[in-house]
Symmetry: C2
Subunit: 304 residues, 2 copies
């Protein structure tokens, strides 16, 4: 059976925009549930300015509470050398996740850099990770569209991937940060990036803002992406902004892929239970669909 | 630009499970909004036992109020000769839509027939349509899974399509009635059915019960399906049953396809406006995602 690696991003990208501060203990319980469901790589927090992202202000506390698991890779998201140093200083982060942004306007808004500056920063972060005996990877944000500049040229993303590859990241991620991608675009861009950086695995990161999240995942997997970011419950986006929507739901992606004969190593029932538990913590029904649907087919082979 | 034909099913499949009776005038307003958005084929009602489906008890009244449009094909869904006679008697139905069911258990529950019986009934319905100077098509329900029998063999669906093709329907539809399909299954089954009934166009009908609706649409279009059923707002399913979920949303499908360079002839802004209007009529936010998201890219080429 072909396999796709899932990276769980609920503890970071899923939670970062929540206005209500989630208790560190709840974040750690989420991380433990994800591991119990089979997750072996996870974005556990980000090391950014706590005034900009208050929800991640407990990054060091989260790291201090991470389960000691040699078989789990913990990712810390960082934007610059200062964040990388913080992450490495915890002693609990296995992999630094850098972010380069495809447009200047979004790069300035997101991390106060130009797009080229964000590439250089990512290269420095990856080098710092390696120097510390860890691994580094990078995600190209707004790969499929920018909230400020609109359409993003594929050539720009391909050129960034080629430049980033010089830093020898363990993978390059393509992120549809604002959920405007479509599967034809995904097929094209994943193919072009793979051709531009042969030997570098491609990860994809989609939001379901306009309903196309799973279609984009499917197109990416068909085009040779080997790793998919997803958040339990489809968490993400801001509950107070009607236009915001979450990451693709881990349990929905796992349902789709496993039903399609592609293994993920994850336990769907445990993910659905985690969705229900997390909905209780957040006090709302989460966007993921499979967790609301009846099981199919039932364990005993009969339905109803 | 390649084109996909969209069939609007909100007035029938979208509404049929609503517990609150929708006024006939509201149904007609929905139909008028769909036409104004560019819809040129639409399932407007079904001619079934009003005790079984009370929401469709006004089938004749809906037909009496349909806009007189020579360029719009109005479909009436029927299960048997009695329903076909009712539909034809209105003088306003252009196309009979028959339903064959892939499993005996679901066929008995849905329409009190065996699966084979539902094939024979569809053949009779298509013949009645032709005799009346109308057209007839058929949808194979539960093509991707059955709520009672579980998995459905592809060979069964292919054999049904071959048998149904003898009645010369204008198309054969494959329906994922309970939303358990996955894109690999869709790719396979659409391909096999097309090969089994060369020259007969294949339509697809997906529900988004488990989040895979648009992925399935994308896979079907890539596999050569030429027509896609969808409901404005992603209407469908029962609001009082947590596990139920709607049809794929017309506006989400149109967003995905048009962004991917595939024309639909529909006006996305008008569909989004229809979603918002319909949400008001139903007094709830509808499942479709694009209607909740900010426009992208903005008309003036700048975002924010």
């Amino acid at each position: 059976m072909p396999m796709i690696e899932m990276v769980e991003v609920a503890p970071r990208d899923g939670l970062q925009n929540e206005k209500t501060q989630i208790a560190t203990a709840d974040k750690l319980a989420l991380i433990e549930r994800a591991i119990a469901a089979g997750v072996r790589r996870m974005e556990v927090t980000s090391f950014v300015n706590p005034r900009a992202v208050p929800q991640m202000a407990d990054a060091e506390a989260v790291c201090a509470g991470l389960p000691e698991r040699a078989d789990v890779t913990y990712i810390g998201l960082v934007m610059n050398a200062r964040g990388a140093a913080r992450a490495l200083a915890t002693g609990r982060i296995d992999q630094l996740g850098a972010v380069s942004v495809a447009t200047d306007t979004f790069a300035m808004a997101n991390q106060g850099q130009t797009s080229d500056g964000s590439v250089a920063a990512a290269q420095e972060i990856i080098a710092m990770a390696r120097a510390a005996g860890k691994t580094g990877q990078v995600t190209i944000a707004a790969s499929f569209g920018c909230p400020f500049a609109g359409e993003v040229a594929e050539d720009r993303v391909v050129a960034m991937a080629a430049e980033l590859a010089k830093a020898d990241p363990v993978e390059i991620g393509l992120a549809d940060t604002i959920g405007v991608g479509n599967p034809a675009h995904v097929t094209s861009l994943v193919g072009k990036v793979r051709a531009a950086v042969p030997g570098v695995p491609v990860r994809v990161h989609f939001h379901n803002t306009r309903g196309t999240g799973l279609a984009n995942v499917w197109a990416a997997v068909q085009a040779g992406a080997v790793t998919v970011d997803a958040a339990i419950g489809g968490l993400g986006g801001c509950p107070f902004a009607p236009g915001a929507a979450g990451n693709v739901s881990t349990e929905d992606v796992v349902y789709m892929l496993e039903r399609a004969g592609i293994g993920t190593g994850l336990d769907l029932a445990a993910l659905i239970a985690a969705n229900h538990w997390l909905g209780g913590v957040m006090d709302r029904t989460l966007p993921g669909m499979v967790a609301k649907a009846p099981p199919f087919p039932k364990q005993d082979g009969a339905n109803q």
